[in-house]
């Protein structure tokens, strides 16, 4: 019999209820904050474990000679960054240099790739999906592009002053609120499932 299961379920439900009650009962606010601080410490520890996992996965790839060049670069970068920040602190000049001259440019490059990928994806969607939703999507996209500003120096007033603001401020806003309500309802029911122990993602 797995004795860990009922214990971890009880702990999860108990702490979940205490945090929830802390929102509604002012006397429990301190306890709630303390629990959240513990959770933050655990999350920081989990982050270290995540980095260790990343290291292990790539170390095994190097040993198996599988995409090993990328794994060697990753492990070297990880070890150097970890040592530099550990010795000199995260706000040191060296750590800032790594962030500003390595991390930011690489992420910006990925962002640039993303812009091209999304343009291609939109074109592919237009080619492959021919349902009503897609036609609405493409039509809306065209209207918003035409309404975004002058086209070859020529303004299309009906698009820029009437159609585009109407879509942005009425139709899109309504749809966004509808989607957000769906997300909010889904979030609440998912939280309740965890609180009543119907979902146990902690492996119980």
């Amino acid at each position: 019999m797995n004795l860990r299961a009922p214990f971890s379920t009880a702990v999860a439900i108990g702490f979940g209820l205490l945090v929830l009650l802390g929102i509604f009962i002012p006397d429990l606010a301190d306890l709630r904050n303390r629990i959240l601080n513990w959770a933050m410490l655990l999350a920081a520890m989990a982050l270290l474990l995540g980095l260790l996992n990343l290291f292990q996965v790539h170390y095994q790839r190097i040993r198996a000679n599988e995409r090993s060049v990328y794994s060697i670069v990753l492990i070297l970068a990880m070890v150097v960054t970890f040592i530099v920040t550990l010795l000199q602190g995260s706000d040191s000049a060296a750590a800032e240099w790594i962030f500003n001259y390595l991390v930011v440019p690489i992420e910006t490059s990925l962002m640039a790739v993303l812009a091209i990928s999304l343009t291609l994806a939109a074109a592919r969607t237009f080619q492959h999906r021919t349902d009503l939703m897609n036609l609405v999507f493409i039509g809306t996209l065209l209207v918003l592009l035409l309404g975004a500003g002058p086209l070859f120096g020529m303004e299309l007033p009906y698009f820029t002053r009437v159609l585009s603001p109407y879509i942005n401020n009425v139709l899109a806003l309504g749809a966004m609120r509808g989607l957000l309500m769906g997300v909010a309802l889904g979030t609440i029911t998912t939280g309740v499932r965890i609180l009543i122990g119907a979902d146990r993602p902690y492996g119980a």
Partner: protein
């Protein structure tokens, strides 16, 4: 007058408990969500042809506001593992955050134990592939691009970088499904993924993959509450015509 959050919570709990024990006297059919149907076909296919299914849980941790989306992803991971754990290439989970990685490992470990193959579980089946959003996407891309994972499900907190993963799935002729609570990401996934999950569909995956009775109950609760909100909105809109407060 605004209803108090406690009253809303109490209503949700009451409705979920009611729908858990009462199924209306007849078998209910869930409305068709093509994305989830295609995912189910994809899971079956991955078992048949021995290809791998990858569940990406995003980079939102348990302490973030989007933690519920990641929990929905974990439910899907559990269902996928129950079906495909003993296939040639068992499903893998990726995350961009430590707590999610631990939960994914726990979810997989308990599923392997439940289906009687605990010795086949390995910690590397749930990986952290990067800590920042783009690092996470970059770490996830290789397994999609080299066709190690032919089916890619993205359920969790994602930013626009989800477009890179979906695009990689397209280029490697794999299948991609994605859902995120962020509206901008939903727009990206609508354009880039084979099957996007919009709005509350993200949280419905468990009910469709037959996770447990609570999932179907929560889906019915969402349906009821959605109608309550619609009625309240209509009432608020027309009440000024009948002398109500503006």
């Amino acid at each position: 007058m605004m209803p108090s959050p406690l009253a809303i919570l109490a209503l949700v709990v009451a409705l979920m408990l009611l729908f858990s024990v009462w199924n209306g006297g007849k078998r209910r059919t869930l409305r068709n969500i093509p994305a989830i149907q295609r995912l189910q076909r994809s899971i079956d296919l991955s078992v048949e042809d021995g290809s791998r299914l990858q569940v990406n849980l995003g980079h939102g941790g348990l302490l973030s506001t989007h933690s519920a989306a990641a929990l929905a992803g974990l439910t899907l991971l559990q269902q996928v593992a129950e079906i495909a754990a003993d296939s040639d290439l068992p499903p893998v989970a990726t995350s961009g955050e430590g707590t999610l990685m631990l939960l994914a490992q726990d979810t997989l470990r308990s599923t392997y134990r439940r289906i009687g193959i605990p010795d086949q579980f390995h910690l590397h089946l749930a990986q952290t592939t990067g800590i920042t959003p783009f690092a996470y996407a970059a770490g996830t891309l290789p397994s999609v691009l080299d066709r190690t994972a032919l089916s890619t499900a993205m359920l969790g907190a994602f930013g626009p970088e989800a477009g890179l993963i979906a695009d990689a799935a397209h280029r490697s002729e794999g299948f991609s499904l994605g859902g995120s609570p962020a509206l901008s990401t939903q727009a990206v996934l609508f354009a880039a993924a084979h099957e996007p999950l919009l709005g509350e569909e993200l949280y419905a995956a468990g009910a469709y993959t037959k996770a447990n009775v609570a999932h179907e109950a929560s889906l019915r609760t969402q349906d009821v509450l959605r109608w309550v909100i619609i009625v309240l909105l209509l009432f608020t809109a027309i009440s000024p015509f009948f002398g109500g407060n503006q």
